[in-house]
Amino acid sequence: MIEKLHRWWVPLILSATLVLLLLGAWPAFAHKPSDSYLRLTPREGGWQLRWDIALRDLEYALGLDRDGDGAITWGELQARETAVVNYALEHLSLRTGETACVSRPGAVQVVQHSDGAYAVLDVALDCPAAEAATLDYRLFFALDPSHRGLLQVNRPTGVTSVVLAPEQSQYVLDTAPGGGSWRPFVSYWVEGVWHIWIGFDHILFLLALLLPSVLWWENGRWRPAAALRPVVLETAGIVTAFTLAHSLTLSLAVLSVVNLPGRLVESTIAFTVVLAALNNLFPLVKARRWVLAFTLGLIHGFGFASVLQDLGLPSDALALALAGFNLGVETGQLTIVAIMLPFTFLIRRTWFYRRLALPVGSAMVAAVALVWCLERSLNLKLLTPLGGS
């Protein structure tokens, strides 16, 4: 009897309890989980935070859908704007040592992500001292431990991505924004100088253009310039034209207005060096050589742009970084000119300079550049250690 009863009851009990646990019977989830997106950018006296929080998560935490119609309108979000901002900022802190940074939230906006609408908070964080700041993130962790904060820190040196989770809710922002907004400028300036100095093709191009600047072409041969003033003026003209040209194309490429394939750019740069050097041996452009510098310089800008893309540009300080890099390139060039010009000016009258240094030097430059040009365009490897910028 007991046996019978048992048999009859068990399926009922089983099915009642199993129902809820058939959950296990369906594989894997299909949705994007809950994430918020944070982007920190250094600024004068602190950091700027852009923080995207899903409206669905805010609804769960605070209840935005006042009329309960299953839709969240802009009006409903605006009505709870203060509550949203306060709730978010209660769950995030940035402190330097014992002192918390002061947060100044701006107006809430909206953005669409791949899984729906997000509220966008724009918060200025004023940090007292120029030391390392610690970010502590706790948003939604108590409600949904699978929530994550996807943090992106934009530093002048590059972008860092961090995932903030309940077991890893803190992140130390090690470069203090002490130098404020000038940091990207300075570090990109350094990159610019460095790039010119290690970029043999740019140096050779300048060298080829500047070798004859202490001379002038008359009756089929180079003659020494009489005074320093016209020499300096011509050199300044050439360098400025080169800078203007590559700044122009560099900006166009970085802003994605013009995009050229890297291999084409690199081979053409080598070719410009060949042209500049050949022009010393068989002068076609004799006066106004700044025109040559400008025309050929255009292509060098695209080469610089690929370096900048390698470095990664801070989107918030784009103009500053570009200006810094350009001025860095300019500084690097001027340094080379400053070393070379006095020297060539002094020896310009010698037979050595006019008959040997200029023609043989130019020929060598042309030869090396021609090899680069072939290597780069045909994807060969003829000459190893030098080459490339």
């Binding site: 646990l21 369906w26 949705h31 299953g70 969240i72 906006q109 953005v111 791949s114 080459g387």
Partner: protein, 398 residues
């Protein structure tokens, strides 16, 4: 050489940047306060949600009430399963927080933790939790059932069969037959499995709509495996007609329709299903075949979601992304890599095997499919679609 390297590096840097740091779109301020920004999957007026809200309120005042916490967690998991939405597993975990990290937590919490871990593809963690439950309560039916399902997902039909048989010691129920048939059908006994499950469904078992839906879905999948399209159609329809929303079932039926070259029906079925990735993918696949240009937009949305998942360090999207790369982007090598990652994390159902075989074929890399072919042979899975693919791979090799 550097001249060639550099553009390459630049391209790599750009690719890396776009993966690691999805660019944030520019925010805007809507002009109209009436503008709808977000539609919630379930409004708070939904009776199920209201009930849950009430339970949450009670739990907020008594967070240490285990029975109440379990109730909240189970409700959340049930909604999460229906919607395919991982937020609800998070809510369930939050309700169980006071016990979550205990060593060991109470058996009921362990059981739910196993379900959660399985959903997050932490199969080893889930099985460990179940072993703990079974060590204390060796006849716990739910623990055996969940264990069987995980073993099936992991492509271990023999082990799954044994777990199902442990269920039977309690009683014969529709869930037992479904469990057993599902495992047997993947272990070389598809015909017997199909017959038993049909009979069980026709019999008078006391079963809830959820149990029936599960049974009908498994039955439809066995019919598909045996190449009986009309039977599969009947069972899928019967499962859908039970009216229980289920994202997994919708996806399985959409796959069936796509195999039957019926994309227009897929589009009609999934038109409003854009939040679950697996359904949005099927919608895009159907739209593409119908030359509906929206597929491109839907594909981009999915790619953005995968980028976020990668940034998060999640692997749950591998299979969906592999299918997207293979069928929508014609990127066979990338698809193959993802399909192999999916396989390597222990996701080994027939559809995972199929994905890897198709990707290996498309990428002309028959060797990459070796592991799957060995597995097919070992478990003796009978599946017409997989058999055809294996044959084509063999031909490619020779």
């Amino acid at each position: 050489m550097r001249a060639i390297m550099k553009p390459l590096l630049a391209v790599q840097a750009c690719v890396w940047l776009s993966i690691a740091n999805p660019v944030l779109a520019a925010p805007f301020t809507p002009a109209d306060p009436q503008q709808v920004l977000e539609t919630l999957p379930r409004s708070i007026a939904d009776p199920q949600m209201q009930e849950l809200q009430e339970l949450r309120r009670q739990l907020a005042t008594r967070p240490d009430d285990l029975a109440l916490a379990l109730q909240v967690a189970r409700r959340n998991l049930a909604i999460g399963r229906a919607e395919g939405d991982p937020r609800y597993t998070g809510y369930a975990q939050a309700a169980l927080a006071p016990w979550w990290d205990q060593d060991p937590p109470p058996p009921e919490v362990l059981l739910l933790r196993a379900v959660l871990r399985q959903n997050r593809h932490d199969f080893a963690g889930a099985l460990a939790d179940l072993r703990q439950v079974l060590a204390v309560q060796p006849r716990h039916p739910q623990a055996w059932l969940i264990q069987a399902v995980i073993q099936q997902v992991q492509g271990e039909p023999i082990a799954a069969l044994q777990s199902c048989l442990a269920l039977r010691r309690r009683a014969v129920s529709l869930s037992f037959v479904t469990c057993w048939s599902g495992a047997a059908s993947r272990g070389g006994q598809a015909a017997v499995a199909y017959r038993s499950l049909s009979q069980a469904l026709a019999g008078n078992f006391a079963a809830s709509p959820e149990e029936r839906q599960w049974a009908l879905t498994v039955l439809a999948e066995i019919a598909e495996q045996r190449g009986d399209a009309s039977a599969a159609e009947t069972h899928f329809r019967a499962a859908l007609e039970l009216g229980q929303r289920n994202v997994y079932l919708l996806g399985a039926y959409a796959d069936f329709l796509l195999d039957q070259q019926r994309p227009a029906e897929v589009r009609a079925l999934l038109q409003d299903e854009q939040s679950a990735d697996n359904l949005l993918l099927r919608l895009a696949l159907a739209e593409r075949r119908l030359d509906d240009t929206v597929w491109q937009h839907h594909t981009e949305v999915l790619e953005a979601r995968f980028a976020a998942a990668r940034q998060r360090g999640d692997g749950a999207h591998f299979a969906t992304e592999a299918r997207l790369r293979l069928d929508l982007r014609q990127q066979a090598p990338e698809a193959l890599t993802l399909a192999r990652q999916n396989w390597a994390q222990g996701q080994r159902e027939p559809q995972d095997a199929r994905l890897l075989l198709e990707a290996a074929l498309a990428a002309s890399q028959p060797e990459a499919a070796r592991e799957v072919l060995d597995w097919l042979e070992r478990v003796r899975l009978e599946d017409e679609r997989l058999a055809k693919l294996s044959q084509r791979l063999q031909e490619l090799k020779s």
